[in-house]
């Protein structure tokens, strides 16, 4: 019995909790991608770098606040700095829309042009971020480290395995729940939210109903910038802030949006967790787990790891390819890319 409990705690500690946190971060990222796809009808390759851009401002505002002695200990100062990053990301999103995307929208350019343009925007943002804050790892997390410590958990339960819940993980999950609930309420209940869904569903009919495309597009960018910054900040607090990692996150985020059904907000959230759980379960070494649950004679020799962690992006890639081959609309029947 105790072995089973130990095995459960072990899996929770190394698979469930990290995947929940990572999945939440992907879900927030994928929501932004899916929203832009639904309204502007292109896959925004600049989304990862938008995350980096917004987070960079959060990092700098955090440093400034730390220097000025501002603190909300035990919570990380970054939470206080979040609005600055959001404002910056929303501003740069609206600015690029004005300066770049609007031109192609007025010309009714095909989606492929938009995608290529967004790759250009991606390089630009990438360059700006590297120039301003540099390409290196930056730490900006402070406040308490843990909500639940391994040692305390062991003492409280008497098990030999411990469960840790980092504050950043708990925060990620809580903030994601709050943000997702707020976003869905907005989309389902508010007049503007309904207009956005209508525009995404049937652009011509939405125009005939009097929906203003400029307003819908403005809201889409504002929400995407906000979500990107929140996702990026939570990821940065949980891991660390390094611009290149945010570019790499684009792959699992796209996989999440597409597996759920692109253009479909619920799909983006579900997709985020699917990708995260796949990645973590495939790269976890099950040796210790098997020692707990399997009979003595089955003791594994190796690590029992399906894929080494360096290859974790292959998981997203495989998911992406399989979905596009087998069910291009994704789980929730979004649009076909």
């Amino acid at each position: 019995m105790e072995d089973i409990l130990n095995a459960v705690v072990l899996l929770s500690n190394f698979v469930v909790v990290p995947a929940l946190a990572y999945g939440s971060q992907l879900a927030l990222g994928a929501l932004g991608v899916t929203l832009i796809y639904g309204i502007l009808r292109f896959a925004n390759f600049a989304h990862g770098d938008l995350m980096a851009f917004g987070t960079m401002f959060v990092v700098m505002a955090t440093w400034w606040m730390q220097g000025a002695g501002l603190s909300i200990d035990p919570l990380p100062t970054a939470l206080l700095a979040l609005p600055f990053g959001i404002a910056a990301a929303v501003a740069v999103s609206l600015l690029t829309d004005r300066a770049v995307y609007r031109f192609y929208r007025r010309n009714k350019s095909p989606a492929m042009i938009f995608v290529i343009v967004s790759i250009g925007v991606m390089f630009l943002m990438n360059g700006v971020v590297r120039m301003v804050i540099g390409p290196d790892d930056r730490s900006f997390g402070d406040g308490a480290r843990f909500l639940i410590k391994v040692k305390e958990f062991r003492e409280a339960t008497g098990l030999s395995e411990g469960l840790a819940l980092k504050l950043s993980q708990g925060l990620t999950i809580a903030v994601t729940v709050a943000v997702v609930v707020a976003l869905f309420r907005f989309l389902q209940k508010s007049r503007t939210g309904k207009a956005m869904r209508a525009y995404s569903d049937n652009e011509d009919l939405a125009l005939l109903s009097g929906v203003s495309p400029d307003r819908v597009v403005l809201f889409a960018w504002a929400i995407a910038g906000t979500l990107a910054t929140i996702a990026g900040t939570l990821y940065g607090l949980d891991k660390s802030f390094k611009p290149f990692t945010y570019f790499q996150l684009l792959l699992p985020i796209f996989a999440a949006a597409i597996v759920g059904g692109i253009g479909h907000p619920v799909g983006a959230v579900v997709g985020g967790y699917i990708v995260a759980f796949s990645e973590v379960t495939v790269t976890y070494a099950y040796r210790k787990f098997l020692i707990y649950v399997a009979p003595e004679s089955w003791r594994p020799e190796g690590l029992v790891q399906l894929l080494s962690t360096e290859y974790k992006f292959a998981v997203s890639f495989v998911i992406l390819v399989v979905v596009l081959l087998v069910r291009p609309t994704g789980i929730f029947r979004g649009k076909v890319i």
Binding site: R197, A198, D201, N202, L205, A206, L208, S209, G210, V211
Partner: protein, 234 residues
């Protein structure tokens, strides 16, 4: 003076003219029907009247006011509503949300109008929480017409409202459209089921290659041997 009138409309999609000096008019409380072969430009004429196709010549007049330069959205504000031939509902949204979107430009309380739509199409009330895309063809057309009615338009334009519905449902839809006309709305519709549509029409237009071939009362067109032979299948 007609409530809504497209006069000498000439224009198309940028290339060759699809419409050539085409004139369509409808009075308040009356039903006007446009019939004609596939590709005649019936939908184009509707779009031109609604401002979705540019006109090189001619004008559109609503209640004595020249609206040729207005955008489709502004025409909605002026009291026009349009049910396009394709993509006429928000498939992923519920019936109720479709109606709400119809009333998007209204800032007053539109619950009364929604009740009226539900009275006209009782089935929609039962299905109000269902996605429009999950409904049958006939029900979807009812949603489409209901959405257009939500602005309480003076002029309602319907492009093939009975496309893809069964004969029984079609009869019922025609009855509803007659009812809408009797309530004082000017109804302009394009119909594939020409004979039946002309039988409820006050005015009929036969359009061929973007030109008016025949214009008369519905009754007279139905009685016209030539029209019967060429356009109504005998």
């Amino acid at each position: 003076m007609s409530l809504l009138r497209g006069e000498g409309m000439t224009g198309g999609y940028g290339g060759a003219d699809i419409l050539r000096k085409c004139t369509i008019a409808v009075e308040a409380g009356e039903i006007a029907v446009i019939v004609g072969p596939n590709g005649a430009g019936k939908s184009t004429a509707m779009k031109a009247i609604f401002g979705m196709v540019g006109l090189r010549e001619g004008r559109v007049v609503l209640d004595g006011k020249d609206i040729t330069g207005l955008s489709p959205q502004d025409r909605v504000r002026e009291g026009m509503a349009f049910v396009p031939q394709t993509g006429n509902v928000f498939a992923g949204m519920t019936v109720e949300e479709n109606l709400e979107m119809g009333a998007y430009l209204r800032t007053d309380d539109f619950s009364g109008t929604m009740e009226q739509v539900f009275e006209l199409f009782p089935i929609l009330k039962d299905k109000r929480r269902q996605a429009a895309g999950e409904l049958s063809g006939g029900q979807r057309q009812q949603v489409a017409v209901g959405r257009a009615l939500m602005t309480r338009p003076r002029a309602l334009m319907l492009d093939e409202p009975t496309a893809g519905v069964s004969p029984i449902v079609m009869d019922d839809l025609f009855d509803r459209i007659v009812e809408i006309g009797r309530a004082g709305v000017a109804v302009l519709m394009v119909e594939q089921n020409a004979a039946q549509a002309l039988s409820i029409a006050d005015r009929g237009y036969v359009l061929v290659t973007g030109e008016n071939r025949y214009s008369d009362t519905g009754e007279a067109l139905l009685a016209n041997a030539e029209v019967r032979r060429s356009f109504l299948g005998g």
